[in-house]
């Protein structure tokens, strides 16, 4: 029987952070993820690396954690963090009385704020509403959730950690109130196998309630759905927040080539309930226009939703009122040793959550090695010579993009043989080359086109997969990479997944694009999506 010491359940930021921490402390661990890495909440948020300013007035503790982790992540995750600045903007509709206490709270949390004139703010961001009243700078930043998870996973693997994607936990075994192992199903070949371990960490995010139930335990968690809009281009180079008590549709985050507007908050039916609606889109737009009046004119690329794993004990608020702090439950208190759950929190504090969780596990196991995750970068900065070499091969200025996406794998692309550099672009919208796709496809955790999408942004730009998915499938078929589905199914599944985020925003140029896409695939490959429309 297979065995390891620790099993971490959940391939989001928290789980992968725990795996990296355990591996760096020399504890053998396996991470199990039911889908692909980062396919849950960690990739379904606005991409904000909080300064803490958003929580300062309501939750000082959370704000302090944010600013500390923000500083650490800028240092260890340079590839994943875009060093924007945040602006907090008081619009016509916001209460000016909120400003003074908010400023005081930021100061208490150690968050540096600086007021700038409305004129200066509009000179920096000309698309901002002309009738805004006050603007403050804060040290917000952008973070790529996909990339953060991947770079953590690669780092963890270098320290000996093991990642198994598309492996679903179907049973948790214990003897005399002590965990002995679990049953795992490989969803790709549907084979089940037992895996013995000493300790299980439940970091399954919105699914952690279900995992706890497998162990006969209960956690008070409510999946809380947040819907977000992705716009086709970057119309702001700052993160722009409304200066008021956190509410829906009050934050814009530039993210690579796009801009994201978030968020809503509503209780989800179940952890997988992430299909957004046109009503949510219209609501977000009508809120977003207070900051950017032209928001109706900008083309929406897609809409997506994620579920926050909010901690909601029986006597507490749900939704916006629920705490954004994280919670660790040691189920030994409830009679099951070797099992702990972690949930709540924010992506910004994922490393801290991992550290606290790993501290607990190590204490149980008698491991005394201290945490080092705050000091060691996730990936090394590429050497100047490597970047220069890449600059000569890749499309103009594309080297920086690729270096940030691939982290430590980047030199592999650059060192490919000269006669077949693979520099041809498969995805023009996000500048993804064939070499990059082939490299990611060869990774053992990659089984579907969307795994490639998470790592490279293939299919996430203007055309939403129209041009690149067919090219990628062609390249992968030719290079003989073993995929979980035949090429036609791979293509169909990928396009259908893109369509899910397009359907609620079918107007303007995006409707034209979809019609073009439909005609193209219908006429050439007889793929019309009709078979996949459940409702």
């Amino acid at each position: 029987m297979q065995q390891t010491r620790i099993v971490v359940i959940g391939g989001g930021a928290t789980g992968i952070g725990i795996l990296r921490d355990l591996s760096m402390r020399g504890v053998p661990a396996v991470l199990l993820e039911q889908g692909g890495l980062a396919n849950g909440t960690s990739s379904r948020f606005h991409g904000l690396l909080h300064s803490g300013a958003r929580y300062a007035a309501s939750d000082l503790h959370a704000a302090c954690e944010c600013i500390e982790e923000n500083t650490i992540l800028r240092r260890i995750g340079r590839h994943c963090v875009e060093e924007f600045e945040g602006l907090f903007v008081l619009t016509r509709e916001d209460d000016p009385a909120y400003v003074a206490p908010w400023l005081a709270a930021c100061a208490r949390a150690g968050i540096i704020t600086e007021e700038i004139s409305v004129e200066e703010a509009r000179a920096r961001e000309p698309a901002l509403a002309p009738d805004i009243r006050q603007v403050f700078r804060v040290p917000d930043a952008g973070v790529d959730g996909f990339r953060l998870v991947w770079h953590n996973a690669e780092s963890a693997r270098r320290y000996g950690g093991e990642v198994r994607t598309y492996h679903k936990v179907t049973g948790i075994e214990s003897v005399n109130g002590k965990i002995t192992g679990l049953t795992v199903c490989n969803t790709l070949n549907r084979e089940s196998y037992p895996l013995a371990c000493e300790y299980i960490v439940n970091a399954a995010g919105p699914w952690s309630g279900e995992i706890a139930r497998l162990a006969g335990q209960r956690v008070d968690i409510t999946p809380d759905r947040g819907t977000l809009l992705a716009f086709n281009h970057r119309f702001t180079s700052h993160i722009v927040n409304r200066l008021h008590k956190s509410a829906d549709g009050d934050i814009f985050v530039p993210h690579g080539s796009i801009t994201i507007l978030g968020t809503t908050s509503a209780q989800a039916k179940n952890p997988a309930d992430t299909t957004p609606t046109p009503e949510e889109v219209l609501r977000l737009l009508s809120l977003g226009e207070k900051l950017f009046p032209d928001v109706w004119e900008y083309r929406i690329l897609r809409v997506f939703a994620g579920n926050r794993p909010l901690y909601t004990p029986p006597d507490h608020d749900a939704g916006r009122g629920a705490s954004r702090n994280f919670v660790i439950v040691d189920h030994e208190q409830d009679g099951l040793a070797g099992f702990a759950s972690i949930f709540g929190g924010k992506l910004t504090t994922y490393r801290l959550m991992a550290e606290k969780m790993t501290d607990l596990v190590c204490a149980k196991l008698g491991v005394a090695t201290p945490c080092r995750t705050a000091g060691i970068p996730l990936a090394a900065q590429p050497a100047r010579a490597t970047l220069e070499r890449a600059g000569r091969r890749l499309p103009a200025h594309g080297a920086r993009l690729v270096a940030e996406r691939l982290g430590d794998q980047f030199p592999k692309i650059v060192n490919a043989p000269e006669q077949d550099s693979g520099a041809d672009l498969l995805c023009e919208c996000e500048m993804v080359t064939r070499a990059e796709v082939e490299l990611v496809a060869a990774d053992p955790t990659t089984h579907f086109l969307h795994d490639i999408r998470f790592r490279t942004r293939l299919g996430m730009g203007t055309c939403q997969g129209t041009c690149c998915s067919l090219r990628a499938v062609g390249v992968l078929s030719k290079s003989g990479v073993a995929f979980a589905a035949d090429p036609r199914t791979a293509l169909r599944t990928f396009l259908q997944e893109r369509w899910r985020g397009l359907r609620p925003v079918l107007w303007g140029a995006q409707a034209q694009k979809c019609e073009f896409n439909r005609a193209l695939y219908g006429a050439t490959l007889n793929l019309n999506g009709a078979d996949d429309e459940a409702d």
Partner: protein, 406 residues
């Protein structure tokens, strides 16, 4: 660049790649990533603060992308702005300055007799020198006219006519082909219009180069300065209710369409900077009975007609072809063979000459296949390229008409 101008957005592009399919450069130069990538796709990266792709210099600004785009995306304008950004950082080559500022150069050289200037462009050692600065040795450069169009017009006694039009000659007619301009003046006189070319006697109030060669070579500010001067002159004449004509489709496109796209802040609200195409105007003269066409001769002559890309980009049909078809005794044969490749000064450049010749190859072949001995096209540099690649006499459609009017 004017900071008040809204940054052009890439949102209308649906990535259909029609522009790539029709781009003559993309079809003939694998190093050019194509208009979609260089225009709207790259715009998303520009907004991320990423620098420009040097490959934008391959764009010939022929505007076939703009013509083909179903979404009305200003594809070529994105690329022209990109060239301007690149030129802000690295000052362009001497060669590009010369090609962009033909008018300034001609003005500086005006006291040197044309025979010497032209000797300099045909004499082998001189061509080696031009080759060294990047002008293709094989390219057929237009000859300087002994006297500029405006100088010849000043000495021409036009009949005393009650009606008048203003004529924007453009650099090519003014410097290299005054005969075409004089043909146009003669035909307009025959139709009962006196032709006014501002600045004929002195330079005050004269039109200047439309600025298109400057934009195409990255000299954005110079083009803007010229646009401001021309718009002022145009507004003054328009206020007098005078039709303003041009015979050059590129000047018409730059002034009538691109000024508003590139320099919106220069256009007064409600101002139209459109010029009237001279062929279009003459068709109107025929229809109004102002211009009587001669009776059909015994022998029908075939004229091979090529529509310049910039004519097609104007979106006014093909008035040059229509005019030829109005002439009794002329059978106009429409080439319909795409771009000739020259794109103003593009095909003169050493690194672009082979591309331009490949682009023009279908047109040259069509010319050779045609039984016509005379070819026609409105664009001056198209005519240069057609003579060079197709080896046949090529004139402006109005010159054909003048010949028939006798």
């Amino acid at each position: 660049m004017n900071m008040n101008v809204r940054i052009p957005q890439p949102d209308r592009c649906i990535a259909c790649a029609t522009c790539v399919a029709v781009c003559p450069v993309a079809q003939n130069c694998p190093d050019f990533p194509g208009p979609r990538m260089m225009g709207p796709a790259r715009q998303r990266f520009r907004l991320m603060g990423m620098g420009e792709d040097e490959a934008s210099h391959y764009c010939a600004n022929c505007k076939n992308c703009d013509i083909a785009c179903p979404g009305d995306v200003p594809v070529s304008a994105f690329i022209m702005r990109a060239k301007a950004e690149i030129c802000k950082k690295n000052f362009p080559k001497l060669r590009d300055w010369i090609l962009a500022h033909g008018e300034v150069l001609a003005h500086c050289l005006r006291f040197i007799p044309a025979v010497f200037k032209n000797f300099g462009m045909t004499f082998a050692p001189a061509r080696l020198l031009l080759d060294a600065i990047g002008i293709a040795r094989k390219a057929s450069l237009p000859n300087f006219a002994p006297q500029a169009f405006r100088a010849r017009l000043a000495r021409l006694a036009q009949p005393n006519l009650s009606r008048a039009v203003v004529f924007f000659p453009g650099c090519f007619v003014d410097t290299y082909e005054p005969e075409s301009g004089l043909d146009i003046v003669a035909v307009l006189n025959r139709a009962g219009y006196k032709v006014i070319v501002p600045g004929t006697t002195d330079d005050s109030g004269a039109f200047v180069c439309c600025g298109l060669p400057m934009v195409a070579n990255g000299f954005w500010q110079d083009a803007r300065d010229n646009a401001r001067r021309n718009l002022k002159t145009l507004a003054a004449w328009a206020a007098k209710g005078m039709p303003i004509l041009t015979a050059c489709p590129s000047c018409a496109l730059m002034i009538g369409k691109d000024y508003a796209e590139y320099f919106p802040a220069l256009i007064a609200p409600g101002q139209s900077s459109s010029l009237v195409d001279v062929c279009d105007f003459l068709i109107g003269c025929v229809e109004r009975g102002e211009l009587a066409l001669p009776a059909a001769p015994q022998k029908v002559e075939t004229v091979f007609y090529h529509a310049p890309c910039h004519s097609r980009a104007l979106g006014i049909g093909l008035p040059g072809l229509d005019l030829l078809r109005e002439i009794p005794g002329i059978q106009a044969e429409y080439a319909d063979s795409g771009c000739c490749g020259i794109s103003g000064s593009y095909g003169f450049k050493k690194d672009k000459y082979p591309i331009a010749m490949r682009v023009g190859a279908p047109l040259f072949e069509a010319m050779r296949q045609s039984g016509a001995t005379l070819c026609a096209s409105e664009c001056g540099t198209c005519r240069v390229q057609m003579r060079h690649g197709g080896g046949k006499q090529t004139v402006h459609p109005v010159s054909v008409l003048r010949r028939y009017l006798g």
